[in-house]
Amino acid sequence: MTRFKKALMPAISVLLLFVVWQLAVLMFKLPTYILPGPVEIFGGIWDQSDKLGSNITVTLGNTLIGFVIGTAIGLGLAVVMVLSGWIYDFVMPVAVAISSVPTAAFVPLALIWFGMGDESKIAMAALAVSFAVLLNAVTGLQSSPRDQVNLLRSFGASRFKVLLKLQLPAAMPSIMTGMRVGLSRATITVIVTEMLGAYSGIGQVIYQATSVVDYVTVWAAVLVASAGSLVLYGLLAALDARLVWWR
Protein backbone atom coordinates (compact mmCIF):
# COMPACT_ATOMS: atom_id res chain seq x y z
CA MET A 1 0.00 0.00 0.00
CA THR A 2 1.41 3.38 -0.96
CA ARG A 3 1.91 6.19 1.50
CA PHE A 4 -0.75 8.25 -0.17
CA LYS A 5 -3.29 5.48 0.12
CA LYS A 6 -2.39 5.01 3.76
CA ALA A 7 -3.11 8.65 4.49
CA LEU A 8 -6.28 8.49 2.44
CA MET A 9 -7.93 5.64 4.35
CA PRO A 10 -8.53 7.54 7.61
CA ALA A 11 -9.80 10.56 5.69
CA ILE A 12 -12.26 8.38 3.80
CA SER A 13 -13.52 6.66 6.93
CA VAL A 14 -14.06 9.95 8.76
CA LEU A 15 -15.88 11.34 5.72
CA LEU A 16 -17.97 8.18 5.58
CA LEU A 17 -18.85 8.65 9.24
CA PHE A 18 -20.15 12.17 8.51
CA VAL A 19 -22.20 10.96 5.52
CA VAL A 20 -23.78 8.09 7.48
CA TRP A 21 -24.44 10.46 10.37
CA GLN A 22 -26.14 13.03 8.14
CA LEU A 23 -28.22 10.36 6.37
CA ALA A 24 -29.29 8.86 9.70
CA VAL A 25 -30.41 12.26 10.96
CA LEU A 26 -32.39 12.91 7.77
CA MET A 27 -33.90 9.44 7.54
CA PHE A 28 -35.02 9.09 11.14
CA LYS A 29 -35.92 12.80 11.37
CA LEU A 30 -33.97 13.08 14.63
CA PRO A 31 -34.79 16.22 16.62
CA THR A 32 -31.85 18.55 17.24
CA TYR A 33 -31.71 17.88 20.97
CA ILE A 34 -31.14 14.18 20.30
CA LEU A 35 -28.64 14.54 17.47
CA PRO A 36 -28.08 17.40 15.02
CA GLY A 37 -26.56 16.52 11.64
CA PRO A 38 -23.00 17.51 10.66
CA VAL A 39 -24.35 20.13 8.24
CA GLU A 40 -26.23 21.84 11.05
CA ILE A 41 -23.22 21.64 13.38
CA PHE A 42 -20.81 23.08 10.82
CA GLY A 43 -23.41 25.80 10.19
CA GLY A 44 -23.34 26.50 13.94
CA ILE A 45 -19.54 26.74 13.89
CA TRP A 46 -19.72 29.14 10.94
CA ASP A 47 -22.34 31.37 12.61
CA GLN A 48 -20.49 31.60 15.90
CA SER A 49 -16.94 31.45 14.64
CA ASP A 50 -15.92 34.60 16.57
CA LYS A 51 -17.15 33.36 19.93
CA LEU A 52 -15.88 29.81 19.46
CA GLY A 53 -12.55 31.05 18.13
CA SER A 54 -11.79 33.37 21.03
CA ASN A 55 -12.85 30.81 23.62
CA ILE A 56 -10.88 27.91 22.17
CA THR A 57 -7.86 30.23 22.12
CA VAL A 58 -8.25 30.81 25.86
CA THR A 59 -8.60 27.06 26.48
CA LEU A 60 -5.63 26.04 24.36
CA GLY A 61 -3.53 28.90 25.74
CA ASN A 62 -4.12 27.81 29.32
CA THR A 63 -3.51 24.18 28.36
CA LEU A 64 -0.21 25.10 26.74
CA ILE A 65 1.01 27.23 29.68
CA GLY A 66 0.06 24.47 32.10
CA PHE A 67 1.71 21.94 29.84
CA VAL A 68 5.02 23.81 29.84
CA ILE A 69 4.94 24.32 33.62
CA GLY A 70 3.93 20.71 34.24
CA THR A 71 6.64 19.35 31.95
CA ALA A 72 9.27 21.48 33.69
CA ILE A 73 8.14 20.32 37.14
CA GLY A 74 7.90 16.66 36.11
CA LEU A 75 11.26 16.64 34.36
CA GLY A 76 13.01 18.62 37.09
CA LEU A 77 11.72 16.35 39.82
CA ALA A 78 12.65 13.25 37.81
CA VAL A 79 16.25 14.47 37.37
CA VAL A 80 16.61 15.29 41.08
CA MET A 81 15.13 11.93 42.01
CA VAL A 82 17.45 9.99 39.74
CA LEU A 83 20.49 11.88 41.04
CA SER A 84 19.65 11.34 44.68
CA GLY A 85 18.60 8.01 46.11
CA TRP A 86 16.98 9.29 49.26
CA ILE A 87 14.92 11.93 47.50
CA TYR A 88 13.71 9.15 45.23
CA ASP A 89 12.67 6.99 48.18
CA PHE A 90 10.92 9.97 49.69
CA VAL A 91 9.17 11.56 46.72
CA MET A 92 8.23 8.48 44.71
CA PRO A 93 5.73 7.02 47.20
CA VAL A 94 4.05 10.41 47.59
CA ALA A 95 3.91 10.85 43.81
CA VAL A 96 2.40 7.39 43.36
CA ALA A 97 -0.15 8.06 46.10
CA ILE A 98 -1.23 11.37 44.56
CA SER A 99 -1.39 9.91 41.06
CA SER A 100 -3.80 7.17 42.18
CA VAL A 101 -6.38 9.88 42.90
CA PRO A 102 -8.48 10.60 39.78
CA THR A 103 -7.41 14.04 38.51
CA ALA A 104 -11.02 15.18 38.39
CA ALA A 105 -11.14 15.04 42.19
CA PHE A 106 -8.67 17.94 42.37
CA VAL A 107 -10.81 20.25 40.25
CA PRO A 108 -12.91 21.61 43.17
CA LEU A 109 -9.73 22.18 45.14
CA ALA A 110 -8.11 24.11 42.30
CA LEU A 111 -11.20 26.31 41.99
CA ILE A 112 -11.29 27.01 45.73
CA TRP A 113 -7.57 27.76 45.88
CA PHE A 114 -7.04 29.70 42.66
CA GLY A 115 -10.47 31.10 41.88
CA MET A 116 -12.43 31.04 38.65
CA GLY A 117 -9.81 32.75 36.46
CA ASP A 118 -7.03 31.29 34.33
CA GLU A 119 -4.87 30.25 37.29
CA SER A 120 -7.02 27.29 38.29
CA LYS A 121 -7.01 25.93 34.71
CA ILE A 122 -3.25 26.32 34.36
CA ALA A 123 -2.76 24.61 37.73
CA MET A 124 -4.95 21.66 36.74
CA ALA A 125 -3.20 21.27 33.38
CA ALA A 126 0.20 21.42 35.10
CA LEU A 127 -0.92 18.79 37.61
CA ALA A 128 -2.15 16.43 34.90
CA VAL A 129 1.02 16.83 32.83
CA SER A 130 3.60 16.76 35.62
CA PHE A 131 2.67 13.29 36.86
CA ALA A 132 2.61 11.76 33.40
CA VAL A 133 6.03 13.29 32.63
CA LEU A 134 7.51 12.49 36.05
CA LEU A 135 6.64 8.79 36.05
CA ASN A 136 7.73 8.28 32.43
CA ALA A 137 10.92 10.33 32.80
CA VAL A 138 12.02 8.39 35.88
CA THR A 139 11.54 5.10 34.04
CA GLY A 140 13.41 6.46 31.02
CA LEU A 141 16.29 7.94 33.01
CA GLN A 142 16.79 4.66 34.83
CA SER A 143 16.81 2.65 31.62
CA SER A 144 20.48 3.28 30.76
CA PRO A 145 22.46 0.08 31.45
CA ARG A 146 24.56 0.24 34.60
CA ASP A 147 27.68 -0.74 32.60
CA GLN A 148 27.45 2.32 30.41
CA VAL A 149 26.98 4.61 33.39
CA ASN A 150 29.94 2.99 35.15
CA LEU A 151 32.11 3.27 32.05
CA LEU A 152 31.53 7.02 31.74
CA ARG A 153 32.02 7.46 35.47
CA SER A 154 35.34 5.58 35.36
CA PHE A 155 36.54 7.98 32.66
CA GLY A 156 35.94 10.76 35.13
CA ALA A 157 32.57 12.05 33.96
CA SER A 158 30.62 13.75 36.73
CA ARG A 159 27.20 12.45 37.81
CA PHE A 160 25.67 15.47 36.09
CA LYS A 161 27.61 14.94 32.87
CA VAL A 162 26.51 11.30 32.69
CA LEU A 163 22.95 12.48 33.11
CA LEU A 164 23.27 15.09 30.38
CA LYS A 165 25.17 13.02 27.83
CA LEU A 166 23.85 9.51 28.39
CA GLN A 167 20.74 9.20 30.50
CA LEU A 168 18.76 12.18 29.20
CA PRO A 169 19.10 11.30 25.49
CA ALA A 170 18.28 7.67 26.31
CA ALA A 171 15.20 8.80 28.18
CA MET A 172 13.90 11.10 25.43
CA PRO A 173 11.44 8.64 23.81
CA SER A 174 9.95 7.81 27.18
CA ILE A 175 9.79 11.49 28.21
CA MET A 176 8.00 12.27 24.95
CA THR A 177 5.48 9.52 25.67
CA GLY A 178 4.81 11.14 29.03
CA MET A 179 4.41 14.54 27.39
CA ARG A 180 2.01 13.14 24.81
CA VAL A 181 -0.17 11.37 27.38
CA GLY A 182 0.02 14.47 29.57
CA LEU A 183 -1.04 16.84 26.80
CA SER A 184 -4.20 14.96 25.88
CA ARG A 185 -5.10 14.66 29.57
CA ALA A 186 -4.36 18.35 30.14
CA THR A 187 -6.76 19.48 27.40
CA ILE A 188 -9.63 17.45 28.85
CA THR A 189 -8.78 18.53 32.39
CA VAL A 190 -8.82 22.21 31.42
CA ILE A 191 -12.20 21.82 29.69
CA VAL A 192 -13.65 20.02 32.73
CA THR A 193 -12.35 22.75 35.05
CA GLU A 194 -13.86 25.41 32.79
CA MET A 195 -17.22 23.68 32.96
CA LEU A 196 -17.30 23.89 36.75
CA GLY A 197 -16.21 27.48 37.02
CA ALA A 198 -14.75 29.95 34.52
CA TYR A 199 -15.31 33.32 32.85
CA SER A 200 -14.32 32.09 29.38
CA GLY A 201 -13.02 29.05 27.52
CA ILE A 202 -14.65 26.37 25.41
CA GLY A 203 -15.74 24.37 28.48
CA GLN A 204 -17.63 27.42 29.70
CA VAL A 205 -19.31 27.79 26.28
CA ILE A 206 -20.41 24.14 26.41
CA TYR A 207 -21.70 24.53 29.95
CA GLN A 208 -23.69 27.66 29.13
CA ALA A 209 -25.11 26.26 25.89
CA THR A 210 -26.23 23.17 27.81
CA SER A 211 -28.04 25.22 30.41
CA VAL A 212 -29.98 27.15 27.74
CA VAL A 213 -30.70 23.90 25.83
CA ASP A 214 -28.82 25.08 22.72
CA TYR A 215 -27.53 21.72 21.54
CA VAL A 216 -26.23 22.83 18.16
CA THR A 217 -23.81 25.12 19.99
CA VAL A 218 -22.86 22.30 22.35
CA TRP A 219 -21.97 20.06 19.41
CA ALA A 220 -20.23 22.88 17.56
CA ALA A 221 -18.12 23.67 20.65
CA VAL A 222 -17.31 19.99 21.21
CA LEU A 223 -16.18 19.66 17.60
CA VAL A 224 -14.04 22.80 17.85
CA ALA A 225 -12.54 21.50 21.10
CA SER A 226 -11.66 18.19 19.45
CA ALA A 227 -10.09 19.94 16.47
CA GLY A 228 -8.13 22.15 18.86
CA SER A 229 -6.76 19.26 20.84
CA LEU A 230 -5.89 17.45 17.60
CA VAL A 231 -3.86 20.49 16.50
CA LEU A 232 -1.94 20.57 19.81
CA TYR A 233 -1.37 16.85 19.54
CA GLY A 234 -0.09 17.21 15.96
CA LEU A 235 2.33 19.97 17.02
CA LEU A 236 3.74 17.78 19.75
CA ALA A 237 4.09 14.82 17.37
CA ALA A 238 6.07 17.06 14.98
CA LEU A 239 8.27 18.19 17.87
CA ASP A 240 8.75 14.55 18.84
CA ALA A 241 9.94 13.68 15.34
CA ARG A 242 12.53 16.51 15.50
CA LEU A 243 13.76 15.86 19.03
CA VAL A 244 13.99 12.09 18.77
CA TRP A 245 15.22 12.00 15.19
CA TRP A 246 17.38 8.92 15.75
CA ARG A 247 14.45 6.61 16.38
Binding site: M9, D89, A97, V101, Q142, I191, V218
Partner: protein, 253 residues
Protein backbone atom coordinates in the same frame (compact mmCIF):
# COMPACT_ATOMS: atom_id res chain seq x y z
CA UNK B 1 20.21 1.22 36.12
CA UNK B 2 17.21 -1.07 36.31
CA UNK B 3 19.48 -3.81 37.58
CA UNK B 4 20.05 -1.94 40.82
CA UNK B 5 18.47 -4.19 43.44
CA UNK B 6 16.06 -2.49 45.79
CA UNK B 7 17.15 -2.24 49.38
CA UNK B 8 14.70 -3.92 51.77
CA UNK B 9 13.65 -0.55 53.22
CA UNK B 10 13.00 0.84 49.78
CA UNK B 11 10.88 -2.19 48.93
CA UNK B 12 8.75 -1.77 52.05
CA UNK B 13 8.44 1.96 51.34
CA UNK B 14 7.02 1.23 47.92
CA UNK B 15 4.24 -1.12 48.99
CA UNK B 16 0.85 0.55 48.73
CA UNK B 17 -0.27 0.50 52.40
CA UNK B 18 3.11 1.84 53.53
CA UNK B 19 2.91 4.65 51.00
CA UNK B 20 -0.53 5.56 52.29
CA UNK B 21 0.69 5.53 55.88
CA UNK B 22 3.66 7.78 55.05
CA UNK B 23 1.48 10.31 53.26
CA UNK B 24 -1.01 10.40 56.13
CA UNK B 25 1.78 10.75 58.69
CA UNK B 26 3.32 13.65 56.76
CA UNK B 27 -0.10 15.29 56.56
CA UNK B 28 -0.64 14.81 60.30
CA UNK B 29 2.73 16.26 61.28
CA UNK B 30 3.39 18.94 58.70
CA UNK B 31 0.08 20.82 58.80
CA UNK B 32 0.36 22.10 62.39
CA UNK B 33 4.15 22.34 62.11
CA UNK B 34 4.15 24.63 59.09
CA UNK B 35 1.00 26.43 60.15
CA UNK B 36 -0.83 25.64 56.92
CA UNK B 37 -4.23 27.31 56.81
CA UNK B 38 -7.34 25.12 56.89
CA UNK B 39 -8.42 26.59 53.57
CA UNK B 40 -5.32 25.17 51.90
CA UNK B 41 -5.05 21.86 53.70
CA UNK B 42 -7.17 21.20 56.77
CA UNK B 43 -5.63 19.07 59.55
CA UNK B 44 -6.09 15.34 59.02
CA UNK B 45 -8.16 14.74 62.20
CA UNK B 46 -10.67 17.40 61.09
CA UNK B 47 -10.95 15.79 57.66
CA UNK B 48 -11.55 12.35 59.15
CA UNK B 49 -14.06 13.80 61.63
CA UNK B 50 -16.00 15.39 58.77
CA UNK B 51 -16.07 11.94 57.19
CA UNK B 52 -17.35 10.30 60.36
CA UNK B 53 -20.24 12.76 60.40
CA UNK B 54 -21.55 11.69 57.00
CA UNK B 55 -20.37 8.11 56.87
CA UNK B 56 -23.70 6.56 55.79
CA UNK B 57 -23.92 9.06 52.95
CA UNK B 58 -20.33 8.31 52.07
CA UNK B 59 -20.87 4.56 52.05
CA UNK B 60 -23.98 4.86 49.93
CA UNK B 61 -22.24 7.15 47.44
CA UNK B 62 -19.19 4.91 47.24
CA UNK B 63 -21.34 1.87 46.41
CA UNK B 64 -23.25 3.89 43.81
CA UNK B 65 -20.14 5.24 42.07
CA UNK B 66 -18.35 1.90 42.22
CA UNK B 67 -21.35 0.16 40.63
CA UNK B 68 -21.23 2.64 37.73
CA UNK B 69 -17.48 2.14 37.47
CA UNK B 70 -17.83 -1.65 37.51
CA UNK B 71 -20.46 -1.92 34.79
CA UNK B 72 -18.77 0.67 32.61
CA UNK B 73 -15.48 -1.16 33.00
CA UNK B 74 -17.06 -4.54 32.29
CA UNK B 75 -18.81 -3.37 29.12
CA UNK B 76 -15.88 -1.24 27.97
CA UNK B 77 -13.39 -4.02 28.66
CA UNK B 78 -15.46 -6.56 26.74
CA UNK B 79 -16.03 -4.29 23.74
CA UNK B 80 -12.37 -3.28 23.87
CA UNK B 81 -11.09 -6.86 23.80
CA UNK B 82 -13.50 -7.86 21.03
CA UNK B 83 -12.57 -4.89 18.83
CA UNK B 84 -8.89 -5.54 19.57
CA UNK B 85 -9.34 -9.08 18.25
CA UNK B 86 -11.20 -7.72 15.22
CA UNK B 87 -8.35 -5.27 14.49
CA UNK B 88 -5.86 -8.08 14.72
CA UNK B 89 -7.81 -10.46 12.45
CA UNK B 90 -8.65 -7.88 9.81
CA UNK B 91 -6.20 -5.15 8.81
CA UNK B 92 -8.93 -3.61 6.69
CA UNK B 93 -11.17 -3.22 9.73
CA UNK B 94 -8.26 -1.65 11.60
CA UNK B 95 -7.57 0.84 8.82
CA UNK B 96 -11.23 1.80 8.59
CA UNK B 97 -12.19 1.88 12.26
CA UNK B 98 -9.05 2.81 14.18
CA UNK B 99 -8.88 6.39 12.80
CA UNK B 100 -12.51 6.91 13.83
CA UNK B 101 -11.73 5.57 17.28
CA UNK B 102 -8.70 7.84 17.58
CA UNK B 103 -10.73 10.84 16.44
CA UNK B 104 -13.46 9.93 18.93
CA UNK B 105 -10.84 9.79 21.68
CA UNK B 106 -9.86 13.39 21.12
CA UNK B 107 -13.50 14.34 21.64
CA UNK B 108 -13.67 15.23 25.30
CA UNK B 109 -16.53 12.88 26.26
CA UNK B 110 -16.92 14.88 29.43
CA UNK B 111 -18.06 17.80 27.30
CA UNK B 112 -20.72 15.45 26.00
CA UNK B 113 -21.94 14.64 29.49
CA UNK B 114 -25.13 16.63 29.10
CA UNK B 115 -25.97 14.97 25.79
CA UNK B 116 -25.24 11.49 27.14
CA UNK B 117 -27.63 12.24 30.00
CA UNK B 118 -30.34 13.24 27.49
CA UNK B 119 -29.77 10.02 25.56
CA UNK B 120 -29.56 7.59 28.45
CA UNK B 121 -31.43 9.31 31.27
CA UNK B 122 -30.26 10.79 34.53
CA UNK B 123 -29.69 7.44 36.24
CA UNK B 124 -26.87 4.97 36.28
CA UNK B 125 -26.99 4.13 32.57
CA UNK B 126 -25.50 7.44 31.41
CA UNK B 127 -22.47 7.09 33.72
CA UNK B 128 -21.96 3.52 32.64
CA UNK B 129 -21.89 4.71 29.02
CA UNK B 130 -19.33 7.44 29.79
CA UNK B 131 -17.15 4.96 31.71
CA UNK B 132 -17.49 2.45 28.87
CA UNK B 133 -16.45 5.03 26.29
CA UNK B 134 -13.32 5.94 28.24
CA UNK B 135 -12.39 2.31 28.94
CA UNK B 136 -12.73 0.59 25.60
CA UNK B 137 -10.05 2.46 23.66
CA UNK B 138 -6.94 1.64 25.73
CA UNK B 139 -8.17 -1.95 26.03
CA UNK B 140 -8.73 -2.30 22.26
CA UNK B 141 -5.33 -0.83 21.37
CA UNK B 142 -3.47 -2.94 23.91
CA UNK B 143 -5.31 -6.12 22.90
CA UNK B 144 -4.47 -5.61 19.22
CA UNK B 145 -0.83 -4.82 20.05
CA UNK B 146 -0.52 -7.84 22.32
CA UNK B 147 -1.99 -10.19 19.73
CA UNK B 148 0.40 -8.80 17.11
CA UNK B 149 3.25 -10.09 19.19
CA UNK B 150 2.36 -13.75 18.60
CA UNK B 151 5.28 -15.66 17.13
CA UNK B 152 4.36 -16.42 13.46
CA UNK B 153 6.70 -19.45 13.46
CA UNK B 154 4.73 -20.97 16.29
CA UNK B 155 1.44 -20.44 14.49
CA UNK B 156 2.80 -22.05 11.34
CA UNK B 157 4.06 -24.99 13.35
CA UNK B 158 0.71 -25.55 15.05
CA UNK B 159 -1.12 -25.15 11.77
CA UNK B 160 1.08 -27.79 10.13
CA UNK B 161 0.00 -30.14 12.90
CA UNK B 162 -3.59 -29.45 11.89
CA UNK B 163 -4.63 -27.20 14.79
CA UNK B 164 -7.80 -25.21 14.16
CA UNK B 165 -7.69 -21.38 14.10
CA UNK B 166 -9.72 -21.28 17.29
CA UNK B 167 -7.33 -23.59 19.02
CA UNK B 168 -4.28 -21.60 17.91
CA UNK B 169 -5.95 -18.47 19.19
CA UNK B 170 -6.71 -20.06 22.55
CA UNK B 171 -3.38 -21.74 23.11
CA UNK B 172 -0.90 -19.29 21.56
CA UNK B 173 -2.18 -15.84 20.63
CA UNK B 174 -4.35 -15.14 23.65
CA UNK B 175 -1.78 -16.18 26.27
CA UNK B 176 0.85 -14.04 24.48
CA UNK B 177 -1.47 -11.05 24.51
CA UNK B 178 -2.72 -11.43 28.08
CA UNK B 179 -0.20 -9.22 29.85
CA UNK B 180 -0.73 -6.46 27.30
CA UNK B 181 -4.50 -6.81 27.68
CA UNK B 182 -4.09 -6.49 31.44
CA UNK B 183 -2.12 -3.26 30.95
CA UNK B 184 -5.05 -1.92 28.94
CA UNK B 185 -7.53 -3.04 31.59
CA UNK B 186 -5.52 -1.36 34.37
CA UNK B 187 -5.59 1.92 32.47
CA UNK B 188 -9.26 1.33 31.72
CA UNK B 189 -10.43 0.86 35.28
CA UNK B 190 -8.91 4.14 36.37
CA UNK B 191 -10.59 5.89 33.47
CA UNK B 192 -13.88 4.18 34.33
CA UNK B 193 -13.70 5.68 37.80
CA UNK B 194 -13.07 9.13 36.34
CA UNK B 195 -15.96 8.67 33.91
CA UNK B 196 -18.36 7.67 36.67
CA UNK B 197 -17.26 10.59 38.87
CA UNK B 198 -17.48 13.29 36.26
CA UNK B 199 -20.64 11.80 34.73
CA UNK B 200 -22.38 12.52 38.01
CA UNK B 201 -21.68 16.23 37.58
CA UNK B 202 -24.48 16.48 35.04
CA UNK B 203 -27.39 16.51 37.41
CA UNK B 204 -27.16 13.31 39.42
CA UNK B 205 -28.20 13.40 43.06
CA UNK B 206 -26.03 10.66 44.57
CA UNK B 207 -22.51 9.35 44.21
CA UNK B 208 -19.01 10.55 45.07
CA UNK B 209 -18.91 12.91 42.08
CA UNK B 210 -22.08 14.59 43.32
CA UNK B 211 -20.60 14.93 46.81
CA UNK B 212 -17.48 16.45 45.26
CA UNK B 213 -19.54 19.02 43.37
CA UNK B 214 -21.54 19.91 46.48
CA UNK B 215 -18.40 20.43 48.53
CA UNK B 216 -17.18 22.82 45.83
CA UNK B 217 -20.40 24.85 46.04
CA UNK B 218 -20.11 25.08 49.82
CA UNK B 219 -16.35 25.66 49.59
CA UNK B 220 -16.03 22.86 52.15
CA UNK B 221 -12.31 22.09 51.90
CA UNK B 222 -12.50 19.45 54.60
CA UNK B 223 -14.94 17.45 52.54
CA UNK B 224 -13.00 17.99 49.31
CA UNK B 225 -9.91 16.54 50.97
CA UNK B 226 -11.92 13.72 52.48
CA UNK B 227 -13.11 12.76 49.00
CA UNK B 228 -9.62 13.09 47.51
CA UNK B 229 -8.37 10.74 50.22
CA UNK B 230 -11.21 8.28 49.68
CA UNK B 231 -10.81 8.31 45.91
CA UNK B 232 -7.07 7.73 46.23
CA UNK B 233 -7.75 4.66 48.36
CA UNK B 234 -10.41 3.41 45.94
CA UNK B 235 -8.11 3.96 42.94
CA UNK B 236 -5.34 2.06 44.68
CA UNK B 237 -7.63 -0.84 45.65
CA UNK B 238 -8.95 -1.19 42.09
CA UNK B 239 -5.40 -1.25 40.78
CA UNK B 240 -4.23 -3.84 43.32
CA UNK B 241 -7.31 -5.96 42.58
CA UNK B 242 -6.47 -6.09 38.88
CA UNK B 243 -2.79 -6.75 39.60
CA UNK B 244 -3.67 -9.76 41.73
CA UNK B 245 -5.99 -11.08 39.03
CA UNK B 246 -3.12 -10.63 36.59
CA UNK B 247 -0.74 -12.56 38.81
CA UNK B 248 -3.25 -15.39 39.11
CA UNK B 249 -3.89 -15.76 35.41
CA UNK B 250 -0.43 -14.98 34.11
CA UNK B 251 1.41 -17.15 36.55
CA UNK B 252 4.20 -17.81 34.04
CA UNK B 253 5.39 -14.21 33.99
Amino acid sequence: MTDKPLSPTARVLRSAPAVGAIVLLLWLILVPLLGISARTLPPLPDVLASGAKIWTDLLHSTVYTLTETFFGFLAGGLIGILSGILFWRSKRAEQMLLPIFVALQTVPIIAFGAIVVIWFGNGMASKVVIALYLTFFPVAVNTARGLDRTDPELIRLLRSFGASEMRIFRTVSLPTALSSIMTGLKLGIQLSLVGALVGEWFGDTTGLGTLLLQSLYFEDTERVWLLILLLGVIGQILFVLLSSIEKRFIWWK
